[in-house]
Amino acid sequence: MIRIDEIHIEEFRGIRSLDLTLTGGNFGICGPNGTGKSGVVDAIEFCLTGNITRLSGQGQGELSVKGHGPHVDYRNDPDKAQVSIKATIPSLNKQVTITRTVKTPRKAVIEPVDDAVELIVEELQSHPEFALSRREIAKYIVTPPARRSTDVQTLLRLDHIDDLRKSLVGYANRCKREFEEAERSRARAESELKTALGVTALDREDVLKKANAKRKVLGLAELTELTPQISFNEGAPEEGKADKKAKIAKDIAVADLDAVTTALKNGETPELEKHRQDALTALNALKADEKALSLARAHGLITMGLDLVSEDACPLCDKPWDRDELCAHLKAKLLSGQEIKTLLSNLSTANTAVIGALEGTAAEVRKAKDYASKLDPAVTDVELEEYAKWLDGLKDHLKAFESDPSQIEGAIAALESAWWEVPEATQIRLDEVEKGVKALPDSSEKDQALQFLAVLQDRYKRLLGETKNAKALFSRNAKAQKVYEHYNAVSNTVLEGIYEAVAKEFTEFYKAINDDEGKFIGELKAEPAKLSFNVDFYGRGTFPPGAYHSEGHQDGMGLCLYLALMKHTLGDKFTFAVLDDVLMSVDTGHRREVCRLLKTKFPDTQFVLTTHDRVWLQYMKTEGLIKNGQLFGGWHIDTGPRIWGDKDIWGEIEETLTKNNVPVAAALLRRYLEYISAVLADNLRAKVDYRGDANYDLGDLLPTTLNRWKDRLKAGVKAAQNWGQDEAKATIEEKLAEAEGLIQKTDAEQWAINKSVHFNEWENFTKAEFEEVVEAFRALLEHIRCSNEKCGGYPYLTPRKGASEQLRCNCGAINVNLKLK
């Protein structure tokens, strides 16, 4: 991944021309709504991925990057709309410039480029989730479990795992179907061989015995072994083609037709009827649900209806209903995903049985048709073929449904047709065939033997072929099922491990920003086709985040889950993220913790944060999360965002003083000190006189906070002495002396006594007098904050409640022990 150093945006979205310098560090963008902040987010996303989620996400059908990416005045000239990002690639220690125009969004121009750099840019394209808006955060928190599963899997790049699973299950299902079909063909071949032999069970000895009896009639040698290559009629004279019709093996034909008649007369067995009824019931249930879906989006309507049922009446028509009864009635109309899965599984079993019966009946009818054509004179076989084809058609309808459940009407029609009832015209032909066969003259004993051996040979070979095929498909099916089951087991185990690790990380992050929920726990649980996410609510149990937690807490959870997922997905590669207004609803009490979380847990990630709250931006600065920022103060269609630099407050005061404007400089200093005093009072747990309206002015906060600072340093001296740490004691004493000197220079302690030095009087100071005040406070604040450039944060006490044990900053450079032995 990358870290952004500079961004140049031209004629893109609402921006005409804009340059931002990020220098690879965290960066804040602040401005009221509609000033172009999100245009910058879009530009970053576009430059790195070629896409703009805002224009291509769900529900954005009419919008497109090409059509709506350029500034409105350049909508017909997309070549002019372009974004360039100068970035550092830490893993390669290289700096590159990536440029993309809306005209060719799929093609990024990278300079200088090599294979490794290209790979990094490709990787960025496959991780568009580095940019997250507040709207998108909801995806991870309040979304339905089934949708969350998809979103989280997409973020974790796990969708391919599911794609492979679907592919393997498809393979396993088709192998199963083809094996079952082959097995049915084998069973029919076996049945026909048994009919020819006149046996109810196949036995190798019996087959040889029956064959040898006929061979003896023909004076042929006895066969001793039943092998796949056996020729039952070996040595027998060839049958002449001319008298083929006369060579119907009458005995076998009669047996065959008896079997056909019996099969058709049996019609639908009780077992088959149960399967058919089961299938029909299941299909009708599905059809009812599908119908509901197509009729006025009834599925959603019913779900919504369930939410609206609050009294004993229908929420739509006011018809009186018992509330519980109405809910049960509506719920009964919905089929849950799990129910559908079970239903389809049962349906498959029932359908397979019916398909087998249809195939069997069609085969019986075709057997009769075969004899019809061999008789002399031949019996018309049209009605027989028509019936067999009709049966084939019904089978095709059931199979079509298995491949595509939308083909439900044909499947229902197939099951509702009494296919086992032979049409009258077909029955007439069957009777004619039977009559014709029975009327055949009896063959001589030798002819009978010849015909028997010929039929035996034919049916034995067929059985061998069908058995071989069924065996091969059995073996393939067994392998396919195993391959799928292994994949399912392995991927589930890996996913469970991932979810467990992510949930653990999420819990840690969330606890870091919400220390009032000490026993908080988050659970991610993968269930079939859904991902449940439950969180603890003050030890009263775990519930979906939307159940009891406030919107602000949910936003915090969304951010934590996102960070946990990204950390898990990208690991060391998580070097860059854009959080677009994500932190807005995090309440004031938790903002500092959010800043600390981002800063301490993700020190190697560059965050670009947008907010419309200036105070938030200041918090980020005070906590050392960001050093640089950009203020957006307005927008015009012709000029784009109106921006000014988010200068350091001292620079701003200095600039105002160069214009000799002491009152404005005084107001700036006062506002800044009020803000920073509140931060320090909170950090140091200063004892401030409580005000119900929370309207504290500088006089309420600063003196007591500075006293607290000295007091804590004194406590540090005492603790160091207590532990016998002379060096630490000397250092803290030095710091304390420095504090006393600097505080004295500010005169803050005199505010209550000497009105002439009170901050209210600052505006009446001369420029030189006020410059002294500014310098005094600047030096004092520099003295308090951490001198480590990478940290720069103000120290705070830990723990947040109870006796303070440590005075420290984020990086630990300030680390004063306050605990006595």
Partner: protein, 66 residues
């Protein structure tokens, strides 16, 4: 569509496939060559078709010359 593009595999997908290959190779009823062919197919970053999986799992050595 993902079926039409060959995408680089994410570390998680690779982890699943690594463990999957080990499981397949540990199964006596699935020969190692078939397991490797399937593994190669699944690592192509696209969704394999029925025929491709079938070929990977059922490919056998050429018959000996009669």
């Amino acid at each position: 569509m993902s079926e039409e593009h060959e995408n680089p595999l994410s570390p998680t997908v690779s982890k699943v496939l690594d463990e999957y290959l080990a499981t397949l190779e540990g199964d006596d009823e699935i020969d190692n060559e078939a397991a490797k062919r399937l593994d190669t197919l699944l690592r192509q970053g696209k969704v394999p078709k029925f025929e491709e999986i079938d070929k990977a799992l059922s490919k056998t050595k050429p018959a000996d010359k009669p």
